[in-house]
Amino acid sequence: MSAHEPFDLIIAGVGGQGSLFASRVIAQAALLEGISVRVAETYGVAQRGGAVFSQIRLGYDVCGPLIPKKTCPLILGLEPIETLRRATMYLAPGGEVVLNTNINAPLETKMGRQPSLDLPTIRTELERLGAGSIEEVDALAVALEAGGAATANVVMLGVLSSVDTFPLSYDAVVKSIEKTAKAASLPNNLLSLARGAGR
């Protein structure tokens, strides 16, 4: 189905942040662009505020559902600690990280039983892991401006669609959101996407 160069992408976040929605939007956008897509998700027990991530594989004729370790060229991080968690396993040397800067600490950290991680530490770790670039976005602030905290994930999709190496076009992402989002939340979603993309 596709003549495109294969491209892998990971979305990392916390259950409830909308990573499933984000990966569904990307899958539908790929379909609209005629690019084959495969997405492996975290469901079920992992959702109750647990760590979740989606492995998205674009443009392969055939492929398994899982991305080989240390080969992923781009990680979309909906939460910094989860971004680092996946980057340590999957980020290719020189890979790109697009990061929502709003830290959501795990319960054990909130309770003071695990050390907390701040953004500078996470940035340093990502650099140490060989990240080629780290783009930081305060997606919550952008989402609040666009109408509500719930669309921070869509802000991040907007940022993603403006990344040079990301193989899907902004227009395809817009069309996909029009197909995927509920009618009532569509204006907010589209505005958040545009703001994220700097439009």
Binding site: Y43, V45, L66, I81, E108, K110
Partner: protein, 612 residues
């Protein structure tokens, strides 16, 4: 269009990106499925959820059954009445249905019958990993083993007709990485006509009394042979490539293998047999074995293909190396990864190791799932432990409330399987002479807690069964439970089972809840405490949630004693620069933190109505 609506609306000939579970739904629709049942369980839940949504539009009768045994029985009955029927569950659910499934092949199906039982290598969301492929040799179930969502759709579609021709029920065994992977699926035609319905009486054919079973058993062998023959003519065993190096692969590992072979440019140098179903026809195996000089078997869980290949080689007097789990070329347990398969293939073909990519993993705080802010289970656990103390044994069960595990709530000393909390509490109380507590949710109670409670009553065990009724099957995605409907009142059901002391309370009414718990603790024999409080997440989804004010910590009164954090483990409370703070976005206003605070430092941001 909502996610997944293309399962019904997608046009034939187009390609959709479908979640594996939705691909199974589409395959069943293309085959003209008429009846669907199931019990939710990750990773199979979206099959039932999707049918629940589209059933009337798709002209399918659907039910979430009370448990898997009943789901299988009613799907079989529908099949006996002529319908094409499907029944979905996870692997452990199929074990629960062990009694009916063992006899269905003997009696034989009418309309095609497909049981989908999702496997979970690595036990990502399960209490064990198990290999349902053994049901093929064990109980006469042809088993289909998809590698991708597309396979899952095609196999499901094929399985119904195949089931009618062999009169055998068919097992589809997708694993987590098929169920929860979205992939490209080419859609086929939805049928114009479906099976005619009706039950024709024929007790000789339908009643497996010993006089009939002898005949049924002989016929079963003939039908099994037909199944093997039909599979031999099917597309589910593809042989690609060439050369003396043979590889046999089945399920998701085939997808990894396929990619590895292409990336290494070995498409024509290696002879690959893809196994998509069981029994693997002997003709397929003997032909393959005759064409290669060695075999590497790539499969997850038990060495099922490997042993079948080894046996076939022995029968055919083929003496070649057969490598796999038994020879240490693959690990015995857990799901495979693309790297694992690549390493094994490189080793097998002596290609040299791949470039090492060292994993340098910094220490990161773990993020396990937790009970939501405002969850009634947290309050129920906290209050029960306050009354029963930390020495009491708390037997827990399968559901969100298993998250009572851990040192904060410390409310989960044992778990085994659905409904076992009551039985484990019985056994432990009988042997120790101490009253034990069982926690069980509403859906799990009706699933398999009922007979366990009867068992405890007839033995007069010293157990307190705390039923956590939140009116929904929460963990698997808010499927209905019997108490979602107006037909059931747990208190009446429990009284009807012979329990004399049945106490009930809203756990958020603390004084009343503590009072019933004290009565239960001081009682004799079996008593039951029913804690009724709707799931807060489901209430929000349904729009029935009452607005409750969030809470805050008065920083002047707070003496940083940490009780609110140490005792209840709520995700909305955290420590920031040494101060105790409540996240007002997350806080659901359940009041538990305020009630554990000795200093009265936690209070609602607005007046609270007396009862939630």
């Amino acid at each position: 269009m909502k996610a997944g609506d293309e399962v019904l609306q997608g046009r034939a000939g187009t390609t959709a990106c479908l979640l594996g579970n939705l691909a199974i739904v589409r395959g069943a629709l293309e085959a003209g499925v008429q009846f669907v049942s199931g019990y939710p369980g990750t990773p199979a839940s979206e099959i039932g959820d999707t049918f629940a949504r589209i059933a009337s539009e798709a002209d399918v009768l659907f039910e979430y059954s009370v448990n898997e045994k009943i789901a299988v029985e009613i799907a079989f009955a529908a099949s006996q009445a002529g319908a094409r029927s499907l029944c979905s569950m996870k692997h452990v659910g199929l074990s629960y249905a062990g009694d009916p499934i063992s006899t269905i092949p003997y009696v034989g199906v009418g309309g095609g019958m497909v049981i989908v039982s999702a496997g979970d290598p690595s036990a990502i969301t399960s209490p064990n990993e198990q290999d349902q492929r053994h049901y093929s040799s064990f109980l006469f179930y042809p088993v289909f083993d998809p590698a991708t969502p597309e396979d899952a759709k095609n196999m499901t579609r094929y399985a119904f007709d195949f089931s009618e021709r062999t009169r055998l029920p068919v097992l589809l065994r997708p694993t987590t990485r098929v169920c929860h992977t979205s992939g490209m699926v080419r859609l086929g035609q939805l049928p114009q006509a479906k099976n005619a319905l009706g039950f024709e009486k024929d007790p000789n054919a339908y009643v497996p009394i010993p006089a009939n079973v002898q005949r049924m058993r002989r016929e079963l062998s003939a039908r099994w042979d037909l199944a093997e023959q039909l599979l031999g003519e099917s597309d589910f065993f593809s042989h690609t490539g060439d050369g003396k190096h043979g590889i046999v692969a089945g399920g998701v590992p085939y997808a990894y293998l396929d990619q590895v072979i292409r990336e290494l440019g070995l498409e024509s140098d290696v002879s690959v047999l893809k196994v998509g179903a069981y029994p693997i026809p002997e003709s397929v195996l003997s032909e393959f074995l005759a064409s290669v000089e060695s075999v590497l078997v790539v499969e997850e869980l038990t060495p099922f293909i490997e042993d079948t290949v080894t046996l076939s080689a022995y029968r055919n007097r083929v003496q070649i190396p057969i490598l796999g789990k038994r020879t240490g070329h693959f690990p015995e347990a857990f799901e495979y990864s693309p790297e694992l398969v690549e390493d094994a293939v490189r080793n097998y073909l002596q290609l040299g190791a791949r470039a090492k990519r060292t994993l340098d993993v910094p220490e990161l705080p773990p993020r396990p799932p937790v009970l939501c802010a405002g969850c009634s289970h947290r309050t129920s656990f906290y209050l029960t432990r306050k009354v029963f103390g930390k020495k009491t044994v708390y037997c827990n069960d399968i559901g969100c409330y298993t998250l009572g595990y851990g040192e904060v709530l410390d409310s989960c000393d044992t778990v085994l399987c659905m409904g076992s909390s009551i039985t484990q509490a019985s056994g432990i109380a009988r042997m120790t002479g101490e009253r034990a507590v069982a926690y069980i949710g509403d859906s799990t109670f009706f699933h398999s807690g009922l007979p366990a409670l009867v068992n405890a009553v007839q033995a007069d065990d010293a157990v307190t069964v705390v039923i956590l009724n939140n009116y929904v099957t929460g963990m698997t995605g808010f499927q209905p439970s019997p108490t979602t409907t107006p037909h059931f009142n747990i208190e009446d059901a429990v009284k009807g089972l012979g329990v004399h002391t049945v106490l009930s309370a809203n756990p958020f009414e603390e004084d009343l809840a503590l009072d019933v718990l004290k009565q239960a603790r001081g009682g004799t024999g079996v008593n039951v405490v029913v804690f009724n409080a709707p799931c807060v997440v489901n209430e929000t989804k349904l729009g029935t949630r009452m607005d409750r004010p969030a809470y805050e910590v008065d920083q002047v009164l707070c003496n940083e004693c940490s009780l609110c954090v140490r005792l209840i483990g709520c995700p909305a409370i955290f420590i920031e620069d040494g101060r105790y703070v409540i996240d007002q976005e997350l806080c659901d206003g359940c009041d538990l933190c305020a009630s554990v605070c000795n200093r009265g430092a936690i209070h609602a941001l607005a007046p609270v109505s007396p009862v939630k």
